[in-house]
């Protein structure tokens, strides 16, 4: 057995030791979104016939939290290690690039899923929710978390400073999640923006995830899953190539 289990354990311990900041804070944030938006828009917006706006909103908020926190975990962990220099402790031992990738992405997924589960656990007190097709819920949650974990790892490898990570977070991840149909159905958008939304990979993650709860979605769940799976495959391949080349890590 190589260094993989320990690297995974270290990554988990790292965010768990500051769980107020890494888990509790994003859960609270999602709850605030729910309270504010559901209160402001309830009754004024109806997306699907049998689904209230608050019910519609919850899966979106859960998935948004999963995605944002998965990205935050790998990107902030790696950039911190690079800047403080303690990355050498992981580069000196015989840890392969596959183990490195696996540990960082898996830890990110777990952080994202823990936060997502937390959001769900808190919101079910306010909103009644049934799960129509659990398979899709898990499939999208796992793949979405993995995609953002890999993306965060790429960002962490590439960035030299904290503000570069913050820039990606604020100018790429946040807009893409907000504009992916978390708060609305893209069918309510003008046609141009509907088409534009189909170019946003986050849209398929949210839409597919929501299908798992309501059994209805804007795009067929299998088609969304294909988009999401291909995105994961491409990002993973890119990330593994970077790690294998030693780009910015072993120069």
């Amino acid at each position: 057995m190589g260094g993989f289990p320990t690297l995974l354990y270290k990554e988990l311990l790292r965010f768990w030791k500051v769980s107020v900041q890494t888990v509790a804070a994003p859960v609270l944030m999602a709850l605030l979104y729910l309270i504010v938006f559901a209160y402001a828009l309830e009754g004024r917006m109806r997306v699907y016939d049998q689904v209230s706006y608050a019910q519609f909103l919850v899966p979106g908020l859960v998935m948004m939290s999963v995605l944002q926190n998965s990205f935050a975990n790998s990107s902030s962990s790696l950039i911190q290690s690079k800047i403080t220099g303690n990355i050498v402790f992981m580069l000196l031992p015989p840890i392969s690039y596959l183990e490195f990738f696996g540990a960082y992405v898996l830890a990110s997924m777990i952080r994202g899923l823990v936060v997502g589960a937390g959001v769900l656990a808190v919101t079910v007190w306010f909103v009644e929710l049934r799960v129509a097709a659990p398979f899709w819920v898990f499939a999208y949650a796992l793949l979405g978390a993995a995609i953002l974990g890999a993306l965060g790892l790429i960002a962490g490898i590439w960035a030299d400073k904290f503000d570069q990570i913050a820039t990606i977070q604020n100018f790429v991840i946040l807009p893409l999640t907000f504009l992916s149909g978390v708060f609305y159905s893209i069918r309510s958008l003008p046609e141009f923006w509907q088409k534009a939304s189909h170019l946003n990979p986050f849209f398929y993650m949210i839409d597919g995830f929501r299908y798992g709860f309501f059994g209805i979605s804007d795009v067929a769940p299998l088609a969304s899953l294909a988009v999401v799976a291909v995105s994961f495959a491409l990002l993973s391949a890119a990330c593994l190539l970077l790690l294998r080349s030693g780009y910015k890590l072993r120069q």
């Binding site: 690297l7 354990y9 290690s81 303690n86 402790f89 031992p93 015989p94 072993r250």
Partner: protein, 299 residues
Amino acid sequence: MTLAIEALNVEKRYGALQALAGVSLAVAEGEFFGLLGPNGAGKTTLISIIAGLARASAGRVRVMGADVITDYRRARRMLGVVPQELVFDPFFTVRETLRIQSGYYGLRNNDPWIDEVIHHLDLGAIADANMRTLSGGMKRRVLVAQALVHRPPVIVLDEPTAGVDVELRQGLWQFIRRLNRDGHTIVLTTHYLEEAEELCDRIAMLKAGRVVALDSTRNLLETFSGLVLKLRLDRETLPEGLAAEVLSSEGGRFALRLSDHGALGQVLQRLREAGATIRELELEPPDLEEVFLRVMAKH
């Protein structure tokens, strides 16, 4: 004879900068080896390549016979590195840090050895303290402990005593000497040349990415260094024709470099002939600092 470290024509370029310009050296198993050179000579770059932290642009490196690229798992298991920078992970305690480091090498249940390392490095009292709270010297000791968790036969220390107080430095050297006696190969870079002189069996001197001297410490001292004669005279000028190079001269105090003990008689005789009275006289044996400066000046 197994070589602990073997570097063959190692080159490293960073863009236009040639950090290493074809370095070859071999460190035998069990040696205490010194890597000296001014800042920017390439010492840390060479260590990074040996440790797999950087990739050579050309050439190859083996650690205990294992190539650091093609057989990196074995090479890295054989090597413990104490980095120059005082790095640490602020999330963990000393013991967590050491357990995690063991795990990276695939070692579970390494606690007996971790306890021993903690004991020898005098870290017992702070074993459960967070890394953030430790003084610089303590962090340095934890770095040494981290380099030893997997019991590597070859240990590289990149300026381990920079910024460390005298007492801790003594303790650290005592410990590292013991490791060397127990059969570990030690490679050391330091700016404290008296430390290198005292500890190292052999020394390589690097300048601008090249090895400019590589020999046993004794041979280096004998080849390059003469004696330094320090005098205080009753006058402010020296007589002509002394068989010595004047290093300094100030208010009747002089420092002269002699090539050997034979030159001492000549100098004293010349002073006597000139009627000079010697008030104080001190003869200093060769030291590595002198050798270092001369080697660096020559290349």
